[in-house]
Symmetry: C2
Subunit: 437 residues, 2 copies
Amino acid sequence: MKTDLLITNICLPGNQGEDPLVADCCIAVGEDMIQQIGPATDFKNIEAAAVLDGRNQLAMPGLINTHCHGAMTLFRGLADDLELVRWLNDYIFPAEAANVSEDMVYWCTKLAAAEMIMSGTTTVADGYFFEHDAARAFADAGMRAVAAQGVIDFPAPGVPDPADNIIAAEEFINHWQNQNPLITPAVFAHSPYTCSNATLQRAKKLARDTNVSLFIHVAESKAEPDMIGNMQGTSPVKHLDALGILDPATVCVHCVWTDEEDLDILAARGAKAVVCPQSHLKLASGISPLASMLAKGIQVGLGTDGAASNNGLDMFREMDICAKVQKIKSLDPVAVPAADIMQAATVGGAEVIGMQGKTGALKAGMQADIILINLDTPHLQPMHGIDLLVYAADGRDVQTVLINGKLIMLERKLLSFDLPETMQHVRRLADTIKRHG
Amino acid sequence: MKTDLLITNICLPGNQGEDPLVADCCIAVGEDMIQQIGPATDFKNIEAAAVLDGRNQLAMPGLINTHCHGAMTLFRGLADDLELVRWLNDYIFPAEAANVSEDMVYWCTKLAAAEMIMSGTTTVADGYFFEHDAARAFADAGMRAVAAQGVIDFPAPGVPDPADNIIAAEEFINHWQNQNPLITPAVFAHSPYTCSNATLQRAKKLARDTNVSLFIHVAESKAEPDMIGNMQGTSPVKHLDALGILDPATVCVHCVWTDEEDLDILAARGAKAVVCPQSHLKLASGISPLASMLAKGIQVGLGTDGAASNNGLDMFREMDICAKVQKIKSLDPVAVPAADIMQAATVGGAEVIGMQGKTGALKAGMQADIILINLDTPHLQPMHGIDLLVYAADGRDVQTVLINGKLIMLERKLLSFDLPETMQHVRRLADTIKRHG
């Protein structure tokens, strides 16, 4: 067999109940795909154009961050420890009004891509203003992304007249569909409280007509069900369901303030959910009912949200905190075991964003989105079980990253673009914010 | 001025309300002390035996982990996602009974020291069985430690007859007091439910007579106030107060299940508290009333607890989760701002363990316990404020560590001992556990 890249001497995670690690494995990568994966003894007569020695490293699928606003890295730590309304009205909204531009979105999204790649995330579902420039940034960074153009019934950067918001989304989809193997376009309807019923239905119709996912923030803070209750006489989820918005290609982000009935509706419609535990903590939104979601068979992804409310984009840390916080919600240390969290961050996350069978697992025939983790480090000793990847590993343990078959990071060195240049651009933009006061 | 080591081109944290970073600073280290620290322009006629270029790095005081059982790294991830009673009775206690030895404590504590040093912790308050070997490990690792000999009314590794527990503690203190500048002995009375009233009072008398701290686990899980209520007719804190145990040299670890009256007592006695947020989450113990503690003026430290219930010893991660979880406790994003958490992990932690004026701050005349953090990394861009060290930094950002004036880690390379040898010993011990089933 001919292969472009052969990863040798690598460990793979063992099956549940067996040894945590299977040593002496190989992965053959041909073009953008995993050709073969398994024990080295099964690899015979391989003609490899390049060999990568994976000694003392574990291979796992690249993580999938199912909710991010990449460009918000610019506002990382700009306004910590504040109430949500003050955070938005006094800091984030004015900072966005003054600073969001094509240039800002491109560079700050590229910084987010660097941070995510360097912590083992190979696919992200992103949504922001000027999403065209976010998509360009992810493409240039060599990172797989679902890029969702925002739809909101307010004047927004790039779409000054809200009457144009669906047209802008349509143009965005037309541009990016089948344009770059790394970029999948989508629509992001901001929320049930910032989009009219007509806008929500038009956004979903556009998504259906073009066969893309519809993302929407739903029931993030306690204020939202109160507001929707007053305006629509029902819960946010029931409101969306009544509008015909919920189906398997709708991704409901947050879902913190949902009850059993809401979750039954999501499950019945096959709609997807995304939880962002660190953002939910930092903004004091609450703790999502993840255990109930999983019990009802809802497919759940894990997301970091934007860096302004987290303040990092490391999915390993997100997994750890997600698992721990679920235990405190119920005062039950058995709640949502590590394996379920890992599932949400990998193969489950892929399904949430419509990439099942494509990424999120290491199998022959899947896209080669692979991360190699350094096992030779004190905080991963000893390795009694693979749960350690959830409870003790850290994005900084990721040594090497392949996305779509390409080496994007090797031994912690980002290969796909000039990181110092990107950091310099972001610092330049950040200095402007300070000057604006 | 003559100095042993001059750190140049370093950033220091700015004062509250000013720029987050002060660039172009220097630190002069002479023997074990900080001789001078401040703007480079203030450093004149310095004759330095060695110079360390701190370009693109921030100096801060080494972090203080006020509660750890270092040797429990052996059990890291051995038993995740389990109820506390099953976790203890079916996994941890049998594993301890079968595996805890002088050899195990030495090597597994040394691994813990490596993990802590490599994530920026320079001082730890540790307590375990065979604490003599833990103290040896910290001393050999070059790490500052309060090493507390355990006292419990059960047969324990190293003290098979509980009647000897106070004598063993006394011998331990006599051996280590003024023996090594890095090691401060102390007593660790396990808890109000595993120590009789007489044992608690004898442990405190020994601590008072020898002028050392008394540590004790208090009110960790909900079961404990119920148990003490049944046995003593009062709360754990009130029980300890009635026994005369509480004073400024008593450190009450956990304090999750304490009410306002309990906290008023701790404040009135000047007793110290330690919170271990990740352990409290993972074992589903609860969320400590940190905001109330601070409001009452109780000096609080932050601890990782042992690696079996965390599963890591990174104090940066602990700070982040502590801040976020406090917000969810009260659904108040303003609760316990980042600066308070940083205080607990540095200068406040020093006071908790009786090292005020010695470590926990960067000032001339303090011991030189200094960490240098790499600022040139995507997840720390941009730096709008120093809170980013709590919400976004990671132990792996620490590049260089000085403890007691000695270079212990340089550019992520541990200098004080042979880390591969230590990891090999721990893996050997871990393999034995697996064989024992």
